[in-house]
């Protein structure tokens, strides 16, 4: 486990808490640290408590830390809610104006700092948070000039005065802490500078889709997926594409189907409620064999649930949610790098298998900042799948046979505009010509053809990713953003002498039973960890025959981020109770 430190700032929503966290994290990133920045927030615009934590380490961290080293409190509520996260004696920087009081049992060291007052003196109440950032920089013994440079860069376009006020705020905060003799109270590990980006999964996923050649995005806003639309709305026009904000998700998914049918790469992104609405449309794409990429950025369900909290509970709906039996591919990235890869790969899969591809993201992956070191554009090639050649159409004497029965089930398609390629694409059962057919034998052939397409995927390279699995006694199987917590737990367990390993399932459907069985073959215990209540991946594994008396579940469904500690405890419980 990387040695890491965590810094938290808390206050009311709408008071720039996240912007401040972003500044702190970004400067640290430039200084050479790996960052994981996450927020606690509510489905409310202004008011209500929020906090932002920046976890700082020399190596990759992708999970929350149980405690924090420093807490900056802008409201008394922050102190009451988060004070207990500080270890005894750790500094709690609170705005003096609050007349802050530590709650019972909180052993932090209260450091009153006149944030508001200094800000007023500097000339702008809004720079209050920058005073705190300056103070925090001092606590960690960080060079102030990096912060100043960033502030100048960031506030430049708001004019000289604003930039200067921010710089001054940083300095005053820094000086205040220095005067208290708290400079360098925490020492960070040595930085490991390299080209590094601080981004969310929504950011990298959007880039991945752009790189894959997606040029049409249709969506209806919904937390936590909206950023994808907002990112692409800034990008696509530059590359000739368009983002269409639709009237609802029914329109979004069917626009995407129309666009893919006509040969563009098009996608939509949504979260649970919108995803439920798309089920009928997704079925059309399966039946008419039209590629379609759907990102479902999961949040807590069912129904509206907790829109600002994390969960991975749309998996079964992604696989089984539509009426009837249609083909779907479901993939789930766990890190920002993987979100880029899957944003790209989803389009290749969709074109190659001519069916909907669902990218299951989740709120934590989508919204929390992480350091990204390796995001190569190379190594990803666009594969448009089977498209009939114009020459072949020209040679045709009869009709183009769009849904020809082929060995691998994949039939080359024609794109509208290609002479002699006209055909009917329909959600009604159809013959190989595309024309409607209700003949029993045709039904069987077409169903088998469509289902055959995905057979090979059960063994797809990249469907699972393992880490530390050689000679592992305990295998922890997971998907999505919790891979960060699991990896950290594996290191902790290894330190304690438990031979743990991790298997991340990146392709959830078709379930890669073949590589999974191999990977799990040597483990004495298999813990299937998921952020949901019913163990959805475990259920899919059972269906795929991956079940015996070694399997156990760890489910986590209170909406908070899964911590490495919780995973460690679950494995320890296994060991104690069942003696691994």
């Amino acid at each position: 486990m990387p040695k890491s430190l965590a810094w938290m700032i808390g206050g009311d929503q709408g008071e720039g808490i996240d912007a401040t966290g972003d500044v702190f994290g970004r400067v640290l990133s430039r200084l050479g640290y790996c960052i994981y920045g996450y927020r606690h927030f509510s489905s409310r615009i202004k008011g209500g408590h929020t906090n932002f934590t920046v976890r700082i380490a020399a190596d990759r961290v992708l999970a929350p830390q149980a405690n924090v080293e420093v807490l900056v409190a802008l409201t008394q509520e922050t102190i009451d809610r988060n004070g207990h996260l500080l270890l005894s004696g750790a500094p709690l920087l609170a705005d003096s104006q609050l007349k802050p009081v530590l709650p019972d049992g909180c052993e932090a060291r209260l450091v009153e700092i006149p944030l508001t007052q200094i800000a007023r003196e500097v000339g702008a109440a809004v720079v209050r948070n920058m005073v705190a950032v300056g103070g925090s920089a001092a606590l960690f013994g960080l060079p102030l000039d990096a912060f100043e440079a960033y502030a100048r860069e960031k506030f430049e376009r708001k004019g000289e005065t604003v930039a200067l006020q921010n710089v001054e705020a940083l300095r005053r905060g820094h000086a205040f802490i220095e005067e208290l003799g708290l400079r360098g109270r925490f020492s960070l590990p040595a930085p490991r500078p390299r080209e590094r980006y601080l981004m969310t999964g929504n950011d990298s996923l959007a880039l991945g889709t752009l790189a894959a050649g997606c040029r049409i995005m249709a969506a209806y806003p919904i937390t936590p997926a909206t950023d994808i639309m907002e990112n692409l709305a800034g990008l696509f026009p530059r590359f000739g594409g368009a983002v269409c904000q639709m009237e609802d998700e029914l329109a979004a998914i069917t626009l995407v189907i129309g666009a893919n049918y006509a040969g563009a790469r098009a996608m939509t992104a949504t979260s649970g409620p919108g995803f439920s609405l798309m089920q009928e449309g997704i079925g059309l794409a399966s039946m008419a064999e039209i590629p379609a990429v759907v990102v479902d950025t999961q949040r807590v369900g069912p129904s509206t649930g907790m829109p600002t909290k994390n969960e991975q509970s749309d998996l079964l709906a992604a696989v089984f949610g539509g009426h009837g039996e249609g083909q779907r591919i479901v993939i789930a990235p766990g890190t920002a790098v993987q979100a880029f890869e899957d944003g790209f790969e989803a389009f290749n899969l969709a074109d190659r298998y001519q069916c909907p591809v669902i990218v299951l993201s989740d709120l934590a992956l989508a919204q929390w900042l992480q350091s990204v070191e390796n995001l190569p554009l190379g190594g990803h090639a666009i594969d448009r799948g089977a498209i009939v050649a114009q020459e072949e159409l020209d040679r045709l004497t009869g009709e183009f046979e769009r849904y020809r029965l082929t060995e691998d089930g994949i039939s080359p398609r024609a794109l509208p505009g290609m002479p002699k390629g006209q055909f009917l694409a329909t959600g009604v059962e159809h013959a190989s010509s595309g024309k409607v057919s209700e003949a029993p034998q045709n039904r069987i052939s077409q169903m088998e053809k469509r289902s055959r397409k995905l057979d090979a995927l059960r063994a797809r390279a990249g469907a699972i990713e393992t880490s530390r699995m050689d000679h592992a006694e305990v295998a922890i199987v997971c998907f999505g953003s919790i891979v960060g917590a699991v990896d950290e737990a594996v290191e902790l367990l290894r330190q304690e002498g438990v031979r743990a390993g991790r298997v991340q399932v990146r392709q959830l459907w078709p379930m890669p039973d073949i590589p999974l069985a191999t990977a799990l073959g040597g483990a004495a215990k298999v813990l299937v960890a998921e952020q949901n209540a019913t163990g959805e991946m475990r259920q899919l594994m059972r269906i795929a025959g991956l079940e015996d008396d070694r399997y156990r579940s760890l489910v986590h469904f209170d909406g908070t981020l899964l911590t490495p500690g919780r995973v460690v405890a679950a494995v320890q419980e296994l060991s104690v109770k069942e003696g691994v």
């Binding site: 990133s29 430039r30 980006y197 981004m199 880039l207 752009l210 790189a211 050649g213 040029r215 049409i216 249709a218 990008l235 696509f236 026009p237 590359f239 000739g240 594409g241 368009a242 269409c244 639709m246 009237e247 609802d248 029914l250 329109a251 979004a252 069917t254 626009l255 189907i257 129309g258 666009a259 893919n260 049918y261 006509a262 040969g263 563009a264 098009a266 009928e280 449309g281 079925g283 059309l284 990204v372 995001l375 554009l377 190379g378 666009i382 009709e399 794109l415 509208p416 505009g417 290609m418 002479p419 390629g421 006209q422 055909f423 009917l424 694409a425 329909t426 959600g427 009604v428 024309k435």
Partner: protein, 290 residues
């Protein structure tokens, strides 16, 4: 202009509607117009809804996509955006368009998407065997409303006008010449063109019959007092006659299609463009995340 014949637009499938169904007339008028304009079949994409009317596309040898009930217009927008060189025609019924699809109708209108929308409005759900549709008359008795329709009908023409439509016309499936002319006008119009066609369902609708329309319809095209150039005037005219009119009702010559208004949108079809992202562009984008 290539030479295109009616034969080019025929498929091996015969139209499967009931004998006498109004939709035959709509199919004929559409095919005739496409031939007249010399548009080759591979440049036409028909996006059809679910219903008797939605089978339209099955009988035309163009590119066809037969979608899910009610989603005709957003699917058509997708097709248009992917390949703006195509003539994209959306076709469906009054249920498809004004019941389950009403949301998309209003929004397609206000976006002014470059799609031609032909509704075969028979004031009934044909394919599901005769339930009242949103355009069915108040009081109409059907099995699902044995005591009569308690709802008042929606008025597609005035709704479209209020929602900001730039081309609104109404045809009658028996009046081929007019209908073909209206469709031709729709095809020439940049932006969303709405052609509502009164297309009798001879099997389930015993009220809105051919005879009924022959008696009731007022032809605005022939009305020397009517000018289709004022939105307010058009609304007033159709309101007054309870939408029992045919002809070109409104036309905005300054219409700009959605795809033309989109910032930075490619002028060539997306479907044919090189979609690889350059390494330089990529690095530049990445840099913003430092």
């Amino acid at each position: 202009m290539e030479t295109v014949t009616l034969q080019d637009y025929k498929t091996s499938e015969k139209s499967w509607w009931c004998p006498g169904c109004g939709d035959f007339g709509v199919l004929a008028a559409l095919q005739k117009t496409l031939v007249k304009l010399g548009i080759p079949p591979h440049r036409v994409a028909i996006v059809a809804g679910i219903g008797c009317s939605g089978k339209m596309g099955n009988y035309i040898n163009s590119y066809n996509i037969h979608v899910v009930h009610g989603r005709t217009l957003p699917s058509a927008l997708g097709v248009k955006l992917a390949n703006r060189d195509l003539l994209v025609i959306a076709a469906g019924g009054d249920g498809d368009g004004f019941a389950i699809g009403m949301n998309h109708f209003v929004h397609a209108v206000r976006r002014n998407i470059g799609v031609k929308y032909i509704v075969m409005d028979n004031h009934i759900y044909g394919l599901t065997k005769g339930q009242n549709s949103p355009t069915s008359d108040h009081g109409q008795k059907v099995k699902a409303a044995p005591f009569g329709n308690v709802e008042s009908p929606v008025r597609p023409l005035s709704l479209a006008l209020t929602a900001g439509a730039t081309y609104v016309a109404q045809g009658f499936s028996s009046n081929q010449a007019q209908l073909a002319r209206l469709i031709e006008g729709a095809i020439a119009h940049p932006g969303f063109a709405f052609v509502n066609v009164l297309s009798p369902c001879v099997t389930y609708n015993k009220v809105n019959t051919y005879d009924f329309y022959k008696q009731m319809l007022h032809d605005l095209d022939e009305d020397p007092d009517y000018q289709p150039d004022s939105r307010g005037g058009a609304i007033a005219a159709v309101l007054e006659r309870e939408e029992l009119v045919t002809g070109l009702i409104y036309h905005d010559p300054g219409s700009v299609a959605y795809e033309d208004a989109l910032p930075g949108f490619a002028e060539q079809p997306l479907a044919g463009r090189d979609i690889t992202l350059g390494q330089e562009d990529f690095l530049e984008l990445l840099a913003s995340y430092r």
